[in-house]
């Protein structure tokens, strides 16, 4: 404390002000760099989870704001799992609201809540499809997305974060808010389920 006071007293106010500004500028640059590096993948992950482009854009923006507001002061190496934790919470919130909305709509005369959402497993391409089937690029990803939509929420999260975003098990556990053991279980089951639906990927 005395040392701190000595330093504080020794530094002229102008110097302290300059240091504060430099710190803020450095932090803003670091956050900008981090968000720029993560935003496209985050958007695609949110799109796959939500199946809604506009909602995914909003979710990513909300996650960016929350990260800067609440965790901008945290060490830089914590930002990635924290960002995805926020994004996953946002996605889960939206999915819960959707479920409630669908449940309410199911009671609405003349409407079937499920009619807008085709069964993703049924609509996935036949894994035994012929060799003519083009399975590359966007078409392949579309099949994978449909298959992912048929997984449980936790399995899908584990797959998106581990395989698509490339988080390690520990980071995924932070992002999912569960133990590393649970991450491994969810991820393995996701792979098994995807393999079952997709069959051999050519």
């Amino acid at each position: 404390m005395i040392r701190s006071a000595t330093l504080s007293a020794a530094l002229p106010l102008d110097g302290r002000r300059d240091m504060a500004r430099e710190t803020t500028v450095d932090q803003a640059r670091a956050l900008d760099r981090f968000l720029a590096g993560i935003e496209r993948r985050a958007l695609r992950i949110a799109e796959i989870a939500l199946r809604d482009h506009a909602e995914a854009q909003d979710a990513v923006q909300d996650a960016m704001i929350r990260l800067v507001r609440s965790y901008g002061q945290h060490p830089e190496d914590q930002w990635r799992p924290l960002f995805y934790r926020i994004l996953q919470n946002r996605i889960t919130d939206h999915q819960r609201r959707q479920k409630v909305r669908n449940a309410v709509m199911a009671w609405w005369p003349g409407r079937d809540a499920d009619e807008e959402a085709p069964d993703p497993v049924e609509s996935a391409a036949d894994p035994d499809g012929g060799p003519d089937q083009a399975l590359e690029g966007m078409e392949l990803l579309e099949r994978i997305e449909q298959a992912l939509a048929g997984l449980s929420g936790r399995q899908r999260e584990a797959f998106l974060l581990r395989n698509f975003e490339g988080l390690d098990v520990a980071q995924t556990a932070v992002a999912m808010g569960c133990s590393e053991g649970s991450v491994k279980t969810h991820y393995f089951r996701a792979l098994q389920a995807l393999q079952q639906v997709l069959g051999e990927l050519k």
Partner: protein
């Protein structure tokens, strides 16, 4: 499911995902850039909010400290450390090191408060 097939599924699905990220359309990229700029504005808002919340409290606390130090000087009870030094140390705690921008507006007040404390107990 063999490890080989598992790895193949991981590899091919990741490659397809990476490709989709690379080919993200211009409108989406533009909106992401705006979203990032909006998020970074939070840094400014947070600093402003911090100052407006804690500056009055910090000023009041500094004034209270000054009053206490003056009172201690009158009573003749010597603090354990050099009085001005201790006061400065407490002032440092009150001001905090998280955001020094507050000095922009009230540095004269703080300089005055420190001077008062030094004079009062010296």
């Amino acid at each position: 499911m063999t490890d080989e097939r598992m790895r193949e599924l991981e590899r091919k699905s990741r490659a397809a995902f990476d490709e989709s990220v690379e080919s993200l359309d211009a409108a989406s990229r533009s909106r992401l850039t705006r979203a990032r700029a909006r998020a970074l504005e939070e840094l400014q808002h947070r600093r402003a909010a911090w100052s407006s919340t804690w500056l009055p409290a910090g000023a009041a606390a500094a004034a209270a400290l000054a009053a206490v130090m003056l009172w201690q000087g009158e009573e003749g009870t010597a603090p354990a450390t050099t009085p001005a030094f201790a006061a400065l140390e407490d002032l440092d705690i009150v001001a905090g090191s998280e955001d020094l921008a507050m000095f922009d507006e009230d540095e004269e007040f703080y300089a005055w408060a420190v001077g008062e404390m030094s004079d009062g107990v010296g």
